[in-house]
Subunit: 201 residues, 2 copies
DNA sequence: GTCTATATTGTGATAGAC
DNA sequence: GTCTATCACAATATAGAC
């Protein structure tokens, strides 16, 4: 199956280039070179730069999207849910650190692209809202708008990656290893911080 | 002073276009059109697209950068400092909501640009670190890595703006007004959340 | 200081040979 | 399926008239 192999190489190459330079900053030439093939082949497999990008974006978005539902629908307690979610999510991004900025940048540049992808997936954040609201009603956690809590969780998980070049330079004097250690330690620190805040005494 | 007026118009126009579309997505033609002048004039005042962008970026970065020092060097208590900082900062970004993504995107695309700008300003985050460490030693707040705390504060303040198109679509069904209200309410919510977490009982 | 015209290179995309 | 050659256009940038 040679054809599939080439198609895969193109997709792999396009993913690398697009993630690093964004849609506007990438060229078909660079993607072709990076895949060691001819530029025309790109158009043979995917008819346009936009179609190729859409394909890449859809795939990458799956990696990025936190599976909020799964974890918040499990029968674990709220604190364990939060611990699991932040640790798993930060761990996932640690293996794909460029993805958050890529996804956020491209959605900002072209919000329409999100609509297509989201429909394909079928998100149900309401389940997470309800789950949190129940804990408030039970008195396990303090009264808080579930959306505020969820945004806080996502913010503290994702932002250190999206803002890495900035934070590394300003707060860590550009020390790459120190920043990497910092990110790893957040796997535990973030949930600790959140739970401290919402646990009812 | 006609020359200055034209130069200002160019800078104004370039700022609008660059912030909205980023360096790669912007063209000199569009900036010229937006300023109602000829394309060649751009090169007369600023010799290249890169030079024009650098100028814009430097100016915008000042707006974006939290003046951590000022607030954390004041003689307010740590909790009031955090309240002041988050409220002032979120309020600033509310007036310039596109700036966070702009700054983060461009630093990611070209980390070198940050170095020049930071030197110009002379940041001293160590002062904030010390200030936090003192409160830990005094027993006012729980034991926490000052850098973790600062990143949490910045993350919860900035991320809802940088990730607005995404969060709005996924958590708010695209409701613009609802998301705007959500952002405004964070002026109080964020500091409450943080202080809840670090205050020692 | 501001314009028109143009140079030069790079871009996405297609035609057509093999 | 894969290549070479090429088109049509857009990009940054400059030259030169006024």
């Amino acid at each position: 199956m040679e054809s599939k192999s080439t198609e895969e190489r193109i997709l792999q190459s396009a993913t690398e280039v697009f993630i690093l330079k964004g849609y506007d900053g990438s060229t078909m030439q660079e993607i072709a070179d990076n895949a060691s093939i001819n530029k025309s082949l790109l158009h043979y497999y995917y008819r346009s730069k936009d179609k190729l990008f859409s394909r890449v974006f859809g795939m990458v978005f799956h990696l990025f999207l936190p599976r909020l539902n799964r974890i918040f629908e499990s029968d674990l307690g709220i604190f364990e849910q939060i611990e699991q979610f932040t640790e798993l999510y930060i761990d996932t991004i640690l293996k794909n650190p460029y993805i958050p900025m890529f996804v956020m940048r491209e959605i900002t540049n072209n919000p329409n692209r999100l609509a297509e992808v989201v429909k394909h997936i079928g998100l149900r954040p309401e389940k997470a809202f309800q789950s949190i609201q129940q804990e408030i009603d039970k008195g396990t956690i303090v009264d808080i708008d579930p959306r505020q809590l969820i945004v806080n969780i996502i913010a503290m998980s994702i932002f250190p990656f999206a803002g890495k070049p900035m934070l590394k330079a300003i707060l860590f004097e550009g020390d790459d290893k120190a920043y990497q250690d910092f990110l790893v330690s957040r796997k535990k620190e973030v949930s600790k911080f959140i739970i401290n805040s919402i646990r009812k005494q």
